[in-house]
Each structure stands twice: as C-alpha cells, then as structure tokens.
C-alpha cells in the first residue's frame, strides 16, 4: 500500500503541492491525472525520493521514503517522464547495472533481459549505446529495467509516451498482470482514454490539491452520467 499523508512541497515563490493525501491500496492500477504544472511530477518525485518532502510523509508498504530510504526504494520500480538517461551506456550495460543495483540473481537477470527485450523488440539493439536509440526504444529499455527486478510498486510517469501501439498494448497488459498479482501500478498520464481503459482508481490533481479521488464509477456518479472523461477532467481542473 502507498500512503501519502498531507505532503507539502514549496519552491521559492511557489507551493507546488499543498497538504496532499492519497491512499493507494494493493492490487490497483491507479491513474494520476492533472493539467500541466498541477504538481503531478513533484508528487511522483517525492514518492521516489528524488525531492525531499517539506511536510508530511510517504510510506511504501509501511516503509517511510524519508526515513527507511533504501528499503522503500528497493520496493519501487520507477519510469521517469524523461527517457534520456544513461545515454553513454549500451542497452545491455544499463540493464546489467540496474540488475547489480537491485541485486537480481545471475540466472534471473539473464533470462529476464532476454525475454523482456525480445518482447519489446529491442534485443538486437542491446549492444548499441542508448544515445543512438529512438525515443520509444529508450522508453522500452527503461521499462525493461524496471520489470527486471520485479518491484512491488510500479511508479510510471507518462509511461506510454513514445511507445508504438504494440509495445503500448504490451505494457498495459503487464500493468494489468501486475495489479492482478496484488501489487500496485501508480501512473501519471495525459491520455484520458488510457485512464478509462485501464484504471481501477484515479486521482485528479490541480494546483497542488487533489480535486477528486475514487474509482471511475464514483467519478461518473458524482458528475452527470452522460459526460465523458474529457469533459469531467476539464470541469474539475478549470477553476482550481
């Protein structure tokens, strides 16, 4: 379970996230929505330990990200919103580095690297520098890195951006499988169709505040039944 308890993050001259609380139970695909600059990335960065939390706390399966740092991080698999990372490493070197960091056993890493990269169609390119990859390939190698150590909690920041339809479908299936195993998929997106297809629960955030949290049914009930998600989203975020 992820528990975000009244977190606040202030940057000079701006409060990015204010008193935000969320609870994400196990076995759910949780969609995190909001317009640009709403505080989504800031929240995710606090969840993953990238940004220090000014006030409040975040726990991952009971481990506080600010106190039991390594134990909490060990449980997370994070796909950042930018995939231009470790550009000077080759694909295989990156995956092996991640496997070393998460202490993935030799046999497991060998099988999984082969399986995952073949599924994503990047196996052949493993000996190339990540810098030479297309945006989609970079995204795939990072996702492969996350899946390699099989973390309990996936935190994915715009994971489908740049993926081709086949890979996008595959990732969505993987997300469903992961949640079906009683684990958590927390992801942010702008693509509302994906939310409708995939999410068990959603939170809509605007100007650092949660505007809504609940399942899709509750959200539609709260507003008029005939509204589509796009209209709902616009209505929720226009006055914030």
């Amino acid at each position: 379970m992820i528990e975000i308890n009244r977190i606040t993050k202030t940057f000079p001259g701006k409060t990015a996230v204010k008193d935000l609380s969320l609870t994400i139970p196990d076995g759910k695909i949780f969609g995190f929505l909001g317009p640009n600059g709403a505080g989504k990335s800031t929240t995710i960065k606090m969840m993953t330990g990238i940004l220090p939390i000014d006030e409040g706390s975040i726990t991952m399966n009971g481990k506080d990200i600010s106190k039991e740092v390594l134990a909490a991080k060990q449980m997370i698999g994070y796909v950042p919103d930018r995939s231009d990372i470790f550009l000077r490493l080759k694909g295989i070197e990156y995956l092996n580095f991640i496997a070393d960091v998460y202490d993935v056993p030799q046999e497991v890493r060998e099988t999984k690297i082969s399986e995952l990269t073949k599924q994503f169609g990047i196996y052949e390119a493993l000996d190339d520098h990540i810098q030479t990859y297309s945006h989609g390939m970079k995204q795939k190698i990072v996702v492969s890195g996350v899946l390699l150590h099989d973390p309990d909690i996936w935190i994915l920041d715009e994971p489908l951006t740049g993926l081709d339809p086949k890979s996008s479908y595959m990732l969505k299936e993987m997300m469903r499988d992961h949640a079906a195993k009683g684990k958590i998929v927390f992801f942010s997106t702008h693509v509302l169709e994906v939310v409708e297809q995939l999410c068990d629960e959603v939170a809509i955030i605007n100007q650092g505040h949660v505007q809504f949290q609940g399942n899709m049914k509750e959200m539609k009930q709260q507003f008029q039944e005939d509204q589509n998600l796009e209209q709902l989203f616009l209505e929720l975020t226009q006055n914030g």
Binding site: K45, D84, F97, I98, Q131
Partner: protein, 547 residues
C-alpha cells in the same frame, strides 16, 4: 547581411550570457580580474625587457624588424592553436547547430554566427600580447603616428588569416575525410589533435633549434633577409612586419594594403568554404554506430558485480565515451605527464635535464620537497574531481531514486578521479625514477605522498563541485566552460599543500629525510581524515537536496 548580423548577435549573446551563473561564480570572475592586474603588469614588464634586449642587439645591424617578424609568427601559432579547439567545438561539437539548420539561413550565415565567439576569443590573447608588444616596439623605434595607426589596424586583422586557415582545414577534413561517420569518434580524434599539435610543435622547435648559424652572418648583413628567414612560411607575418618597419614608405604602405587585402580575401574564402562544405560536414555526423547483439554474449554481459564496481564502470565509461569528458578529463590530465616525459626523452641536454642533474646534487629532503612540489603543480587540479557531480547533468536524479547508498556513489566518484590522478602519477614516477635518478627511498616516499595527495585533490575537487554543481547543462562543455571551479580548486590546493611545503622548507628539523617523511605522513593523514569526515558530513546532509 542583416540576417548574418542577427545570427552573430544571438549566438554571441547565448554563449557569453551570465544567466544561470551563481553569485559565487560571478565573485570568482571578480577575483580573477584582481589577479589579472599584477599578472598583466608582470607580462608587460617581461615583454618590455625581451623587446628591449632584442632591439639593442638587432638594431646595430638594421635587423630590428625581426622582432616584429617573431612576434607575428608567434601570434600566428597561438591563433592556430587556440582556434583549433574553439572552431571544432563551436562548429561541429555544439549540439545547438541542429536548432539553427532548419531555420531559413544560408550555410555561410550560420557559419559566420558560429565563428563569432571563437574569433572574438582570439582577441583576448591578441590584446594581451600583440597590442602591448607593438606599442613597446613603437616606443623603442621612436615611430610616428602612422606606425600606431597601422599597428591598430594590423592588430585588428591579425587573427583573420590564421583563423580562416584553421576553420577551412577543419571544414575540409570534416567534409571529405571519412572520420565524420561517427560523431563521437570524430570528436575524440579531433579533440586529441589539439594536444598532439601542442606536443608536435614543441618537438619540432626543439629538433630544429640546432644546426643553424652557418649563413647567419651573411643574412644579418642583407636587408630583411633575416626577417625573410623568420617569416619564411608566414606571409602575413612578413607583410605586417615590413608594413610596420617603414610605415611611411611606399613599400610599407603596399605591404600594409597587401595584408588588408589578404585578410579580406580570407573572410571571403571563409564564407565560400562555409557555404560549400559546412552543412555537408555537420549534417553527415551521426550519433553512433549500430551493431547486432550476439546471443552467446548474453551470459558474459550479464555477470553479477558489486554495486561499487558497477558504479565505477559506469563513471569510467561515461568519461571515455563522452568526447568532451574524454578530452577535458582524460587527455588533459595525461597531457602534462606525457609532455614532460617526451621532452625529457628528446632532450639530453635541455633545461629539464639540467634540473635533473641539479637534483642529483641535492640532499634527500630537498629532493623530496622539490619533487613533491613539482608533482602538485604538475598534476594540478583534477578535472575529473571537480566535475564529479556536474558530469551527470540532468541525469543526476537517477542517483536519488535508485536504492544505492549515497556514500557508495560518492566513493565511486572519488575513486574515478583518484584513479586518473594515479595514472598521471605513474607516468611522472617513471620519469622521476629513471631520468632524475633520485634515490629509491626518496622516490618511494615521494610516490606514497603523491598518492595520498591525489586522494586529497580528489576530495577538494569533489567537495567544490558538490557544493555548486552545474547540472542544468545542455552541452557537456558547459561543465568546464565559464565555471570558476578549476580556479577555486587550485586555490584550495595551494592552501593545503602550500602550508605543508612551506613548513617542510622553513623548519630546520625537516632537513632530515626521516623527520620530513614523518611530518608529511602525519600532515597528509590529518588532511585525508578531515577531508573524509567532511565528505561524510555533507553527503549525509546535502546529497538528496542536490537538484
């Protein structure tokens, strides 16, 4: 022309902007200016005494214009050397070219814009050396106002031809040589060329310095013959020298006009070559090569390793595979030791060998002191250390979400810069052991002390970068360019090691090798312990707040 001017203005503004520079850096520039004043005065007095000596000895035979010839030849070399790296990085390595190519500009317009900053940077050294030298010469030769007007114009046009030659050669190589297929490899080869050029010129001069003098006496008698010899391969230096030798004569004026015409033709040539070759060279650069992963490689490539080893490999690969880091860190730290070694091997009777034989005559503690000081100055600041954090750029956040203990990341960074220092040290140690012929005990103590000193310099550089990292760069060169960190690292090292050296030199007890060694061990150990303690402290407090 208006568009070209707009591009030049924009590119100069973009590269020279102080936006994003911290107050500390700005203060650093202030310090640098303060330091530059006495240094400038020192340079002036050196130039003055050199020109004075030469003038007194050359004037009786009417060969004083050789001074001008030497001056212009020397400036040509400096311009060639400086523009080699600046043109390469501005024209081909800066990624920003991709944002200009789709805009409706002619290739020559973009190339003119790209040339602006490298060209302007030549005026720094031009103003520092050529301008005062010309004034000093003018005073010695009691020249009239025409000389000074000519001087000013020649000062203005002096960098044009060398710059055009370098730029044209580079554009030619990039257009026609097949090395441009791989951008990174090209960058590494061309980046190393600058250093090879410096070493090569030095070797050539040294090899060439013997064996002349036979026909010298006749040349001295013949008007301008000596000048002709000096400026044999440098027509611009010849024209400029003759123009300034007799500015009021027709010959002088003709040479002056020839120089202006040559510079003007140079600019036209540059624009033409730029128009023809620039895009073809720069557009041919690809990000890297593609290969196919081999199935039977998988087992070997997925071997399990210790996290620290994994981190070290990642750091090392980043340095070796990033052209800017390769040249600024690896080549630059190896440059000095390799340079020294080559000079020592080439010269059996040169100044360094004289120094070596002098060391043989010293007692052990003095030798140790001198060798240690020499190493500290030689190894100087380690770019790998003061770029530890900044090298990561916007990828730094990876260190924050991955479950790697912060001290382990810090250790990997310290170890990489330490390893690079040790590499240089090994080269120097060979030179010291075999060429300086010091006693084995002195060599051993010196080697140990230098190893420990390398760790200290790694800590100093790391801490400076840790406090003020530059992560928000778009081009790797920004990690080194326009940052005062190298200067601060040097100052901090001067403080730490300067105190040790002064004490070793001044305290009579340390005339004994044993006492000197013991003191060095104690002093350096204290420095290491203090450094480690402070690194641990700031890592705990600040690591997760770096963004």
């Amino acid at each position: 022309m208006a568009k070209t001017w707009l591009l030049i203005k924009t590119m100069v503004k973009m590269q020279l902007s102080t936006a994003g520079k911290s107050d500390l850096e700005k203060a650093g520039y202030g310090c640098l200016v303060l330091f530059a004043i006495p240094l400038g005065l020192l340079l002036l007095s050196i130039l003055n005494s050199m020109i004075d000596t030469l003038y007194t000895s050359l004037a009786p035979t009417g060969n004083e214009n050789v001074i001008l010839g030497l001056l212009f030849v020397m400036m040509t070399f400096i311009f060639l050397f400086v523009s080699l790296s600046t043109v390469l990085s501005s024209f081909y390595f800066a990624e920003d070219v991709e944002s200009f190519i789709p805009l409706p500009f002619q290739p020559y317009q973009i190339v003119m814009g790209k040339a602006a900053v490298p060209f302007l940077s030549l005026y720094g050294v031009n103003t520092l050396v050529l301008l005062p030298s010309l004034i000093i010469y003018g005073i010695h030769s009691a020249s009239g106002p025409v000389y000074y007007i000519f001087s000013l114009v020649l000062w203005l046009v002096a960098p044009v031809v060398p710059f055009v030659l370098t730029a044209a050669t580079i554009m030619f190589i990039m257009r026609f040589a097949n090395i441009a297929k791989n951008k990174d490899r090209t960058k590494i080869i061309m980046g190393s060329l600058g250093f090879a050029f410096a070493i090569g010129v030095n070797i050539l001069f040294r090899l060439d310095s013997g064996g002349t003098g036979g026909g010298m006496s006749e040349m001295v008698l013949e008007q301008n013959a000596l000048l002709g010899l000096v400026t044999k391969f440098f027509p611009t230096a010849y024209f400029s020298s003759i123009a300034l030798t007799s500015p009021t004569s027709i010959i002088g004026s003709l040479n002056f006009l020839a120089m202006i015409a040559l510079s003007f033709a140079g600019i036209l040539l540059f624009m033409t070559i730029g128009q023809q070759w620039y895009f073809k060279g720069v557009l041919g650069l690809s990000g890297g090569t593609r290969s196919t992963f081999k199935e039977n490689d998988l087992k070997r490539r997925t071997e399990k390793r210790q996290v620290l080893w994994s981190l070290l490999l990642k750091e090392w690969k980043t340095i070796v595979r990033t052209p800017t880091f390769f040249t600024q860190i690896l080549i630059q730290s190896l440059f000095f030791p390799v340079f020294i070694l080559i000079l020592l091997l080439l010269q059996s009777s040169g100044s360094l060998s004289t120094m070596a034989s002098r060391i043989n005559g010293w007692d052990d503690s003095t030798s140790l002191l001198v060798l240690f000081a020499f190493t500290i100055i030689g190894l100087g600041v380690n770019p790998a250390s003061f770029s530890s954090i900044s090298r990561e750029g916007k990828s730094w956040f990876n260190n924050l979400y991955l479950p790697i203990p912060a001290p382990l990341i810090v250790t990997s960074k310290l170890l990489v810069s330490f390893f690079l220092n040790v590499l240089s040290l090994l080269i120097i140690s060979i030179a010291i052991l075999f060429l300086f012929e010091v006693s084995l005990s002195v060599w051993f103590i010196w080697f140990l002390a230098s190893i420990v000193a390398s760790w200290i310099t790694s800590i100093i550089g790391f801490l400076l970068d840790f406090h003020q990292p530059k992560l928000n760069w778009t081009d790797e060169r920004e990690v080194f360019k326009g940052r005062m960190i190298g200067f601060f690292a040097l100052a901090a090292e001067a403080l730490v090691f300067g105190l040790l050296l002064i004490l070793l030199w001044a305290v009579p007890l340390f005339q004994s090798l044993t006492f000197a060694s013991v003191f060095m061990v104690v002093y350096l150990t204290i420095c290491v312990l203090l450094g480690q303690w402070y690194v641990g402290k700031v890592t705990k407090e600040k690591f997760s707040t770096i963004h």
